[in-house]
Symmetry: C2
Subunit: 311 residues, 2 copies
């Protein structure tokens, strides 16, 4: 494939930046990739495994001469990083971010972007529970959505070029309003993560009652929750603080609904429970039809080696 940007700077060298670098390399999409991360340890690790073509010793050095700058750091530090790199951005360059929250990032980053530089905020809906410089892989974005939330007045050419890069990495691009993005993601990702963290926390407190049995006998349901709750604490702290309003809104709805089901259990109202559980099945069907998951039973739950099939 053709080179889409002569030089791409990645600020942050974790799961998302690493996967982008590997995907761009696999597709020959960037003339050169330059990366920077805060800690010497991460920079050394990235250098050792050749995660990017060149590891810079400062964010300023990384963005110098870059045609595309990707902010791939926790959403809480996007503003500070933008302030740090702003004076060093090449005129005509595009800055994008991959943060899981969009309104707060736009508010934090946009004021720092100099005239003549394009800011096209984005969010790849792709990830695993792993993080850090060793966690990336080129196929992460394949067949996944990548939402762009360009504010009004964003240069359409800059957006189109970024979209071409994203498509070349295997993802599907869609535009969305930033506020709407934050609400949809509060439902589909942020609140479920908080709930999973909470349930795993409850199990942790019960350890004295249940000894190690909660771990030993962890069944479907809880096991999925622990995977979700193994995600990076810094990333998720920032997501909840930066998408506070939408998360609190959805949490309010969630507890109302939970109390209704709790009451049905207490009252022995089986019909209400059955109705509710029947309705939620339809959503699952929709997701499978939308191609966002498979209908294969969760063979993945089996320990490696025992599986007779794959997801």
């Amino acid at each position: 494939m053709a080179v889409l940007y002569d030089r791409v700077a990645l600020i942050g060298l974790g799961l998302i930046a690493g996967s982008m670098s590997l995907a761009m390399r696999a597709g020959g999409l960037a003339g050169e990739t330059v990366g920077y991360a805060r800690s010497p340890e991460t920079r050394a690790a990235a250098r050792q495994i050749g995660l990017v073509d060149r590891v810079a010793e400062s964010a300023a050095e990384a963005v110098a001469g870059a045609d595309l700058v990707v902010l791939a750091v926790p959403v809480g530090v996007m503003g500070a990083v933008a302030a740090e790199i702003a004076p060093h951005l090449k005129p005509g360059a595009t800055v994008t971010d991959v943060g899981s929250v969009k309104q707060a990032v736009i508010e934090a980053v946009a004021p720092h972007i100099p005239a003549g530089v394009h800011f096209v905020p984005g969010h790849p809906l792709a990830g695993t529970e792993h993080s850090g410089p060793h966690s990336g892989f080129a196929a992460l974005f394949r067949n996944r959505w990548w939402l762009l939330t360009p504010p009004e007045g964003t240069d359409p050419e800059a957006t189109a070029r970024l979209a071409a890069l994203i498509r070349a990495m295997g993802a599907n691009v869609e535009d969305m309003d930033a506020a709407h993005h934050d609400l949809v993601l509060a439902v589909t990702s942020h609140t479920p993560h908080l709930i999973a963290y909470t349930m795993v926390g409850v199990a942790d407190h019960l350890k004295r009652v249940t000894e190690s049995e909660v771990i030993k006998y962890s069944a479907a349901g809880f096991r999925d929750f622990t995977r979700i709750a193994a995600s990076d604490p810094t990333m998720w702290r920032d997501v909840f603080l930066q998408n506070k309003e939408a998360v609190l809104d959805i949490l309010g709805r969630f507890t109302e609904e939970l109390f209704m089901l709790q009451r049905a259990i207490r009252m022995g109202d089986g019909a209400q429970l059955h109705d509710y559980f029947t309705r939620t099945r339809a959503i699952r069907r929709g997701i499978i039809e939308a191609g966002q998951d498979t209908s294969a039973p969760d063979f993945g739950r089996m320990p490696a080696g025992a599986a007779t099939g794959q997801d």
Copy 2:
């Protein structure tokens, strides 16, 4: 392997019974398997695919002459099924069940078991989100736990023979007190399922706001929840009603904990969130070390065909 029971009767022909039948057949563990399910449709389906050696037209017919009778129906009907089969049980036979709740099932079933018949309650910690006569597969129990909760005074030989069958189907057997079982499962399975159902229900209500976007962009977290929440409504209604006390206890702890985190988000207390999320990671590590899941990133999230690896 050697035949462990000359005739095994399966009451219910869904995921668990079907998987048991296929596992017993694969291992040559039963002389004959006989099955019965409530609806003519299920019996016809089971007959058509040869799920058991013989499909009976009544529960009484199915258990006649059987050395092992397996109650594989929703926990809410275990008592009624036990009453129905009781007069037809062969002296010296063993009755077991596979219900996800143990105290309520023992209370409902034990009074019907005639003298000279052994009742050994059990629960395989294995399942998928699918149900019905087409959902079973022989490897379901491989490397999974199967808890037995025999009340005091249960014949040790009957328990040992059942344990041998279970091991021959690939599972690991452990004994547990029934009340303790119900608490551990409320934490690891029942409450997580209720929470997943609730979150998916919230998304369903928001459909008007988010159109089909919640489905289209369903991300990690929510997607896992929808799989859990696609499980059989009847089975789960019964589980919550029959394990009411333990589920309400855990739900109470869960909402307390959730309110604490909700408050931390509202107050902007990032340190508290970060601490909490760091602690929950350790539990995940424990589960991987206990061999109940793999540390491979969740490649299963990718649509079939795009995956570069398997779980």
